[in-house]
């Protein structure tokens, strides 16, 4: 029995050791890559680089505004740091990541989804693991400590035990890390400025005449983001991208946010939509042009 237990402990220890060695190596390569937005920001741009604006949001932020077009039109310098399937607290983490990585910007364009006008869930986001290569940074660690409910603390403890993290998220982290060894500049579905668009495929959506919905933005996280930006001398502009068959109206007098409201800017024209919540490439071009007009007028105020 003694021999058996001894052997089990030795073999388990070797497995853990080798697993962590692989985990740390994978973490290193992923942090030096451009695969996900978190490492793309750090590796694709020079430290200390100044931007005129940066966009943060979910897939709606990623696919509605094209920074190439906006920069060309307004002669500005911007980057799109939106990530699909993320909520406001992950977007806040991206904002912190931007400034803590040594970048600065005059404006943040926060693409706010309707599900975050009032509140945000306190559970770990589906794509938060994409920040795990930077787990040693305090603000990233704090984020995972606060929101990860898993008893093993798979991501929270990845600074000391990356094995579990790279094993649990093996297809999301380990294989991209392996790819990054060969192609460190490979980007996961976005261009050199962080943009991505959905194709102009036909979409069948039923139109129903609805009245505009009066909405207030009361999510305390938005306020917190604004306070944070103040310390970084960056101004917040909230952008609400188009929805099919839905219009929101915001009372801008009662809230101290600058809002560019494009919820019904496309007049529910199906040729601009990929689905009910995302525009297609044609819709993106139009939205980016219209956004440029609104944006420049806000800057000039």
């Amino acid at each position: 029995m003694k021999k058996f237990i001894k052997k089990i402990i030795i073999y388990l220890s070797i497995t853990l050791l080798l697993g962590n060695l692989i985990g740390f190596t994978a973490n290193y390569f992923l942090s030096k890559s451009q695969f996900y937005k978190s490492s793309f920001l750090v590796n694709a741009f020079n430290k200390g680089e100044k931007f005129d604006y940066f966009i943060v949001g979910s897939s709606r932020g990623l696919t509605t505004l094209n920074t190439n077009l906006i920069d060309q039109k307004l002669n500005l310098k911007g980057v799109n740091l939106s990530m699909d399937d993320t909520d406001l607290k992950t977007q806040f983490l991206m904002i912190k990541h931007f400034f803590n990585s040594g970048f600065s910007s005059k404006y943040l364009i926060l693409t706010l989804d309707e599900s975050h006008f009032k509140s945000t869930s306190l559970n770990l986001g589906n794509n938060d693991y994409r920040f795990s290569p930077f787990i040693r940074r305090e603000y990233v660690k704090n984020h995972f400590d606060e929101y990860e409910k898993n008893t093993l603390g798979i991501i929270s403890n990845a600074n000391v035990n990356p094995f579990f993290n790279y094993s649990y998220y093996n297809f999301e982290l380990f294989l991209p890390a392996a790819l990054s060894v060969i192609k460190p500049n490979f980007r996961n579905k976005f261009d050199a400025k962080g943009n991505y668009s959905y194709p102009n495929s036909g979409v069948k959506l039923l139109f129903e005449k609805n009245n505009a919905i009066k909405q207030k933005i009361t999510n305390p996280l938005v306020k917190e983001i604004k306070e944070f930006l103040k310390t970084k001398k960056c101004k917040l502009i909230i952008y609400v991208a188009p929805y099919f068959n839905k219009e929101y109206v915001f009372d801008t007098h009662k809230i101290n946010y600058q809002i560019i409201n494009h919820t019904n800017i496309l007049n529910d024209d199906l040729k601009y939509f990929y689905d009910a919540t995302h525009v297609n490439n044609e819709g993106r071009n139009l939205c980016s042009k219209l956004f440029s007009v609104n944006f420049i007028s806000l800057i000039k105020k």
């Binding site: 058996f4 073999y11 070797i14 497995t15 697993g19 008893t151 094993s167 998220y169 297809f171 999301e172």
Partner: protein, 472 residues
């Protein structure tokens, strides 16, 4: 509690410690640990159904005593009937009640009548088909005077609920497993090491092959109407290995865990995809069930002793019942029927003595063609309905063009690649071990570390799925 869960990773070392270090002095103490831990294991899924296992155990324990002590044949039959009716009755109610009701209602509608069928919302107790068959084997064996009844209720309870094989087998015979509960177990180093090897190999098959394949298979079968014939073929191929990896993986883990407690469970799979014909396939696939049906259904029906027609009838019955055992759906019955049709020509040639021994020249071809037949039959098994399976097969045979689910995203393409590599690895390992005339794989302990790392970095850990055979 699933084998591939954190709960089990905590549960197993605790039970192991209690069993070998705290309650190891007396056999009754060891059985008590097994009994309590087995009920906790099962209770993690739904504690209410513990009463069912207990009831089933109680009935068969009592029936066993009464059958063995009965002086007349009538009384023996009476108590055997009590066991059969209560076990099969439970199975029929929980597993087949709604199915029979729907089929009854559908048949009336077919003739233009309509009847009101009130379905019950019944939860199927996990593993009911496995443990009822196990307890039944006890009563039948006592009836057939193959074994004597036991008066040791704790040992009997532990035998019925033994947690490694409680929910998905192997379906043990009382003659093999029950006596092991009568003697004090002493730790056996070699057996424990081989147990660990089987557990790791089982996890590899389950988490790397089966769970990864399930992601692709589900995507293809859910939208088979839009898929190209290549994609559908891939779906059928991967499902063949998904169900193999899932079920044989579970069996390996179960046998391995049992060995840690110095119990021997029967081999359930012997490299079935290396079979040269359907007959051999059924001698290598889910052996505990096929031998159960052989001993308790086929032979009592007369087996192959009667005329050719009677024997063929018996084979058909066994395959149909075996299909029906898998679930309350006509697809399973149809699957059993198809296998009977595959097997009958071979059976006739064996019976007539005209069966040709396959030479090495055709060996690879025979293995390949047997696999193709089995693979197509799995389409029926996996489909929602018989018509779905026919359409699925029709799309393959008519070379239909369409979407390819596995190439729809780079992630699915990578998963498909991982599946292929792991399947290739498994087949090579099995061919090597078969050549060495082993019935299970064997590794040097150091290789286990490599295997553990492969499981960790290529297994579907986040997207793991339940064991397929839990639903049966």
């Amino acid at each position: 509690m699933l084998f591939n869960s954190l709960d089990f990773a905590i549960f197993l070392p605790i039970v192991f410690t209690l069993y070998w270090f705290v309650f190891s002095k007396k056999v009754s103490h060891q059985n008590f640990v097994i009994f309590i831990s087995s009920y906790i294991f099962y209770g993690f899924w739904d504690w209410r159904f513990l009463t069912l296992i207990f009831f089933s155990s109680l009935v068969d324990f009592y029936s066993g005593i009464k059958i063995d002590k009965a002086k007349t044949k009538f009384k023996r039959k009476l108590f055997l009937s009590l066991s059969l009716f209560s076990n099969l009755g439970l199975l029929a109610f929980f597993k087949y009640y709604n199915f029979f009701l729907d089929s009854f209602s559908d048949s009336f509608q077919f003739f233009g009548y309509s009847i009101n069928a009130d379905r019950l919302s019944i939860v199927l107790p996990v593993g009911i088909s496995f443990y009822t068959f196990q307890t039944l084997s006890y009563s039948i064996d006592v009836y057939n005077k193959k074994i004597h009844h036991t008066n040791n209720f704790l040992a009997f309870l532990s035998f019925v609920s033994f947690f490694p094989q409680l929910v998905a087998g192997p379906i043990e015979r009382a003659s093999n497993l029950l006596p092991q509960f009568f003697y004090k177990r002493v730790f056996n180093y070699d057996k424990a090491v081989s147990g660990i090897q089987l557990i790791v190999w089982g996890f590899f098959k389950k988490m790397v092959i089966a769970d990864n394949a399930s992601i692709i298979v589900n995507g293809i079968f859910e939208n088979y109407q839009n898929q190209s014939f290549e994609s559908l073929l891939l779906g059928a191929f991967l499902f063949s290995f998904q169900i193999y990896g899932d079920f044989s993986g579970y069996s390996d883990i179960a046998i391995g865990v049992a060995r840690l407690f110095n119990f021997d469970l029967m081999t359930n799979f012997k490299f079935p995809y290396l079979s040269k014909n359907i007959g051999e396939f059924w001698k290598r696939w889910h052996i505990s069930l096929s031998t159960w049906f052989r001993d308790y259904l086929y032979i009592p029906l007369g087996g192959s002793k009667g005329s050719l027609n009677t024997s063929i009838r018996n084979v058909f019955i066994v395959f149909l019942v075996s299909g029906f055992w898998h679930g309350a759906n006509w697809t399973f019955v149809f699957w059993g029927l198809i296998h009977a049709m595959f097997y009958i020509p071979l059976f006739i040639s064996i019976k007539k003595g005209t069966e040709k021994d396959s030479t090495n020249k055709f060996r690879v071809f025979n293995i390949f063609s047997t696999f193709i037949l089995v693979m197509f039959s799995w389409i029926i098994f996996r489909s929602e309905s018989i018509s779905d399976s026919i359409l699925y097969i029709k799309r393959i045979l008519t070379f239909k063009s369409g979407d390819s689910f596995f190439t729809s995203t780079s992630k699915y393409l990578v998963i498909t690649g991982v599946c292929f590599l792991s399947i290739l690895f498994t087949v090579l390992v099995e061919i090597y071990n078969q050549k060495k005339e082993r019935v299970e794989v064997y590794f040097k302990s150091v290789f286990l570390i490599f295997l553990c790392l492969i499981i960790a970095f290529f297994g579907a850990i986040k997207n793991h799925s339940d064991f397929i055979y839990f639903q049966f």
